[in-house]
């Protein structure tokens, strides 16, 4: 196409016959008609021309790739038009929205003063309160309602009425209030009815006579006059009365305020019976609804239930033993590093405070001699404090005999059940710790007399503590951890002199109460470490210390009853103590290959001849560990030796036999035991243990380890991988179908999201534009309005002025 744009346009228009000579003579009429007829055609043609001359209205995506497939119809986009359509649609939506604004949906805040800024918060509240009170007052029968009849007042004006399901329980006044006609209007109505009745009655007596219309009318007029008069009278009277009452209101109030009690008493007497009835009803209301009793279970069922419960607990214990905390995995070795040791709290996240209803249940105290303390005492005990420190408990208990202590403690726990008062739970929590410390203190302070009583008291106190531990686990654990620190501090500063029987009792109690087989336990693990420290670092230079450690070894052994873990310190102690006790000179010891075990003291030998009673019964006695300057006799020494040997035997058969290093562990003990059996020819124990070791050895397969028998690891290949039959159209070569689909979905989602965002932006822009437009329109309207007004005024002014001028002229001319 040649020529300028304008020329082209002209040409095009001409071609279509829109311009140029339209009024060609001759064919004028016909052509016009055809044109009018083809108006649609005409607009289409114009649109076509317009399109042709505005190349920016059309957008074409040029497909470079399939150049050969040109023949196919290419999609053509019309951004201008689509934009316009979008705009229109938006406009429609916007209009619709604007129309419904303030008309549809939403909440209307009717609270008083909510949207009123002139009121302060306090004033608002005050006003609301007054309003509420007023509305209540209007709905309720008012206290001093004058129309209230006297009979209705027989239930106490001041007291509350009893109700049942919202209905009054006072049966005397079962009449309806409107029976009496309380209000003005109803009152009037009632009276008018009565009057009517009267009038009717009069009429009834007379023989029926037809009245004339005039008579009837007269009657009606008379009646209405009478009623009117009547009404006026009543009104006046009422107003007078109200006036009177208003005047006397204060006096009445004053009297009323003075009187109420006497009035109440009068009423009480008359209502004695009713009251009884009322209480009965109330009691009945409070009664629990009958529920079917639980079925009595057979013995087998109970047993089965218990069995299941135990199994569950055992499973939980086993899980803990293997170190599985809830869902969390055991910490891998990869994580070992600096931070592995530094008190890492992150593991095991069970909630501490699983407070549910059962919290309020009281502790199930161990039964036993559960008889209450004898009468006189129990009265004295009626004011029981809940001791929060050890001294308080001591002070409380010291005035009673020792054997009553467990019952007193039980009494304390019973008195301070958590459900009885707030704060009891915390108190008892503290008391649990106090009780633990009390038991420990008691174990140090008892004399040699009456051992049976003492042990029974201690045992029952411990039983109480154990049952308390169920509920007050946390405070007890805290107390235990404190005590652990204390023991360690003492041992650090005073070495073995700082230790006492109480520590042994403490370790025993920890094992007795807590689950010692756990892989990790917040109380038991530190205890284990501490026991290890004591076993390893206590110098075995006195019988006292050997004795202490022997008991400690026993306790440690009890800890491992379930977990069966290796305690190397125990090995160390056994070696050292047995060699120390071995009644041989150091030369003889080294000749039997025991020189490498270093003794702390050389003169703590067991007696050359063992006591026979000690061989059969070799219980260690905690009392022995008490006195520092205690010198054991031969029998006690023998018992000590036998006890340690016994511990050794148990350790071997309990823990060591399952370890792969059983032979290495028993190596030195074989020598020691051989030496013992040589020294004590007729002492069976060492020989027995030796035989046991040999027996275990026979069953124990000892062959090289194969710890690294891992699955072969695949080596990552770094050779580039070429895709055969690569197709650029194929978006993904992922062989995993689901993943492929997921990716597809993701891409789609992304696209959609982008599109929606775009739309939303467009919408907001449109809205903003519209708002500006409306605002502009508003302003324009306003200004035009103002201009109009001004115009009007100035016109009027001008008119008036003209008038004035004319008038003036007129007058002047008149003059």
């Amino acid at each position: 196409m040649a020529g300028s744009q304008l020329k082209n346009l002209k040409n095009a228009l001409k071609e279509q016959g829109f311009t140029g000579q339209t009024n060609v003579k001759g064919s004028k009429k016909v052509k016009r008609k055809a044109k009018e007829y083809d108006r649609d055609e005409r607009t289409k043609a114009i649109a076509r021309i317009r399109e042709q001359f505005n190349p920016f209205d059309v957008k074409m995506n040029r497909d470079k790739r399939n150049a050969e497939a040109k023949k196919a119809v290419q999609p053509v986009g019309k951004p201008g038009i689509s934009k316009q359509i979008g705009e229109e649609q938006r406009k429609q939506v916007y209009e619709a929205k604007r129309k419904s604004k303030n008309r549809l949906g939403g909440l209307l805040d009717r609270r008083f003063g909510e949207n009123f800024k002139g009121l302060t918060e306090e004033e608002k509240m005050l006003e609301r309160f007054t309003r509420e009170k007023q509305s209540q007052a209007s709905s309720r029968r008012s206290l001093f309602n004058l129309d209230d009849d006297e009979d209705a007042g027989d239930d106490d004006v001041y007291g509350e009425k009893l109700t049942h399901y919202g209905k009054s329980l006072s049966f005397q006044d079962d009449f309806q209030e409107d029976d009496l006609g309380l209000d003005e209007e109803t009152g009037n109505k009632g009276s008018s009815k009565r009057i009517e009745r009267q009038l009717d009655g009069e009429d009834d007596e007379l023989p029926a006579r037809k009245k004339t219309k005039a008579e009837v009318m007269k009657e009606v007029i008379a009646k209405s006059k009478f009623y009117k008069q009547e009404r006026q009278k009543a009104q006046e009277k009422l107003e007078d009365e109200i006036q009177d009452v208003d005047d006397e209101f204060e006096d009445i109030m004053a009297e009323l305020n003075q009187l109420p009690k006497t009035k109440k008493n009068d009423l009480d007497k008359s209502k004695e019976l009713d009251k009884e009835y009322d209480t009965k009803v109330r009691e009945l209301g409070l009664d629990r609804r009958a529920a079917p009793a639980e079925r009595t279970k057979t013995e087998e069922e109970i047993e089965k239930e218990n069995e299941e419960k135990r199994q569950k607990l055992e499973q939980a214990r086993l899980d803990r033993m293997r170190g599985m905390f809830g869902e969390e995995e055991d910490q891998g070795v990869e994580d070992l590093g600096e931070d592995f040791w530094a008190g890492d709290d992150s593991e095991n996240e069970e909630d501490l405070n699983d407070t549910d209803g059962s919290e309020l249940e009281d502790v199930v105290l161990p039964d036993g001699d559960d008889d209450k303390p004898n009468g006189g005492k129990s009265k004295a005990v009626s004011v029981i404090p809940c001791p929060q420190t050890e001294d308080e408990l001591k002070e409380f208990l010291q005035s009673y005999e020792l054997k009553e202590h467990p019952n007193l403690v039980k009494e304390i726990i019973r008195t301070f059940q958590p459900r009885l008062a707030m704060g009891n739970k915390e108190k008892l929590g503290v008391f649990t710790g106090v009780l633990l410390r009390h038991i420990l203190a008691l174990s140090v302070s008892y004399g040699h007399s009456d051992l049976d009583l003492f042990s029974s008291v201690q045992n029952s106190l411990i039983a109480i503590l154990r049952s308390m531990a169920q509920k007050y686990n946390e405070p007890l654990s805290e107390a235990c951890r404190e005590i652990i620190s204390e023991i360690q501090e003492r041992f650090k500063s005073e070495r073995s002199h700082g230790l006492s029987v109480a520590d042994l009792v403490f370790f025993t109690l920890v094992g007795y109460i807590f689950s010692t087989s756990d892989h990790y336990h917040l109380v038991v693990t530190p205890c284990n470490v501490l026991i290890g420290e004591l076993l390893e670092q206590t110098k075995l230079n006195s019988f006292q210390n050997i004795f202490f450690c022997a008991v400690l070894a026993r306790i440690s052994l009890s800890y491992q009853q379930m977990g069966k873990r290796l305690v190397p310190e125990l090995v160390y102690f056994f070696e050292k103590s047995l060699v120390t006790l071995l009644p041989l000179t150091s030369n003889e010891k080294s000749s039997s290959g025991l020189a490498y075990i270093i003794e702390d003291s050389e003169d703590l030998n067991a007696p050359q001849k063992l006591d026979h009673t000690a061989i059969t019964s070799h219980n260690l006695n905690l009392r022995q560990a008490m006195s520092q300057d205690y010198v054991p006799n031969d029998q006690e020494k023998s018992a000590l030796l036998c006890n340690i040997l016994d511990s050794l035997e148990e350790t071997i058969s309990l823990v060591w036999k399952e370890l792969s290093s059983f032979q290495e562990l028993t190596l030195s003990f074989k020598r020691i035991l051989a030496a013992f059996s040589q020294v004590y020819q007729d002492f069976e124990k060492p020989k027995m243990i030796l035989e046991k070791i040999q027996k275990f050895e026979r069953f124990h397969e000892h062959f090289p380890l194969s710890l690294q028998n891992h699955r072969p690891m695949s080596i990552p290949s770094h050779v580039p991988k070429y895709e055969e039959n690569f197709n650029p159209d194929k978006k993904s070569y992922d062989p995993d179908r689901t993943r492929n689909e997921v990716n597809k979905m993701k891409a789609q989602l992304k696209k959609e999201r982008k599109f929606t965002m775009k739309e939303i932006r467009k919408d907001t822009r449109f809205e903003a534009r519209q708002q500006i437009e409306t605002k502009k329109k508003d302003y324009a309207d306003y200004h035009s309005k103002m201009a109009r007004i001004f115009n009007q005024i100035s016109t009027e002014e001008g008119m008036e002025k003209g008038k004035y001028e004319r008038e003036k002229k007129l007058r002047n001319s008149k003059k």
Binding site: A316, Q331, V551, P568, E569, Y572, D646, P704, Q708, N709
Partner: protein
Amino acid sequence: MKTSVDDIKATAKLLISSNDRKNYNSIVKLVGQYSHLQLAEEEQFAEQEPTARCLTVSLYQVFRKLFFRGQLNPSKATTDKERLFFQWCRKAYGSFKSKLLHCISSLPFESSLALDCLDVYMKLIEQEAIFFASQDGAPFFPNKTLKALIRALLESNIPSSIDATDGQSKSSVVQDFSERYYQKFVDIQYYFQAELVQLAADGDFDHWDNTQLMAKWLCIMNHDEHYCNENADLEVYVSQPPQAIENEGQYKSNLEKNWLQFLNLRGLPGTQYKTTLLILHKRVIPYFQTPTKLMDFLTDSYDLGDDVLSLLALNGLFELMRKFNLEYPNFYEKLYQLITPSLMHVRHRSRFLRLTDLFLSSTHISVNLVASFIKRLARLTLDSPPAAIVSVIPFVYNLIKKHPTCMIMLHDPDFVANPFADANELAQLKSRKAQYADPFDMSESNPENTHAIDSSLWELESLTSHYHPNVATLAKIFSQPFNKHSYNMEDFLDWSYDSLLQAEMSRKLKVLPALEFEERGAPFGDYVKLVEW
């Protein structure tokens, strides 16, 4: 004739204020006061102490004045009469110094007077350095005066002043001297060493108790502020020290002589021996002219047989080997023998492991040797505290990583049960297992001959059931793939029961500790058997 505090003050004031020579006789009187002091009895002395203190301070002020007046240096006198007078003054001064030294050396208990005397004496040295120089402003150090002081310090004998744990002297005079003078001033260090050589040569050491001597020596020497230490921040005590103090070689050889002199003392207690060995590699060897002179001492200590001493000597020995090419025959054998049961229970364990880690890091040592070390350490873990186990496990891990041949001790492919094996192979495996006997010989002292490489580390495997959860988890590294390059030993060496417990106690009570549900009867007798109330 005793004089009161006021009298002393008055006399001193008189002497200081006027140059009247008539008063000078009272100097002698004042100095004579010292002989009235009862130095032997602590209670009596306590009464006299304020007087003595006042006396010391006043006399110092008097003599300071005399210094300024130039009356103490006879060589500066112009006339014969004046020289005589100056000589008289000098004599009085001399006797004052000897009294001070007497106080320091012969007080048999701790007292502040000795400290005062020390201070005054040191100030006098400062004055002498200024005024006794041949000319004004000429460099001079009064080494004879210092020598007298050293003698007095070494002579002082306060019973029970030796620390029981490290064998150092706790005597306050010696400590004071060390802290306030020796550790701060370079010239004092130089002349101290020089004069001490003289003293030793004079044979004065023979008169004194060896233990006391060594204790004082250790007290003075056990610090880092030495003459040759580049990091030490030292000053000069006297205003014009002679050029000689810059002679580093002389100082080093003096120090060396002194150390050897002290190390040769007989009958020293083990604690002092240990302290010496502890500081040897850091605070002694670097300052020696020829550190190889310590060779005999170290090798003797190492051969002594005492585990702890050998352990400590190892460090010094290593220093010599590293820097001076010292060859030690059968070093590894010796090292191997140091791994004794007690090693796991002593504090110096970490020191040993650190060094052994270094010694065994060589790739040129035989597998037998490394295997023996591993096996022996593993064997000892069976009765050792968790802290020791914790240091041994990563140690062994690192060793195996460095010497992969030792892996056979953890994993012997011959004994792996193959699930696809036929009956014949199974039978073979079974017979192999049955015939296997552990060839390791714990009592063999030569690490090359222990057959440890044919053994296996059952001990470490057993530790996976250690009572401490962290130790047990740590022990599991041997059954997991050896992916980690190496463990940083420093993270594991310095644990103790204390720190383990501390770590436990710092954990918060997040989970309620589990309770035992099983009924256990009575706590004593039923739960803990064979023990009764």
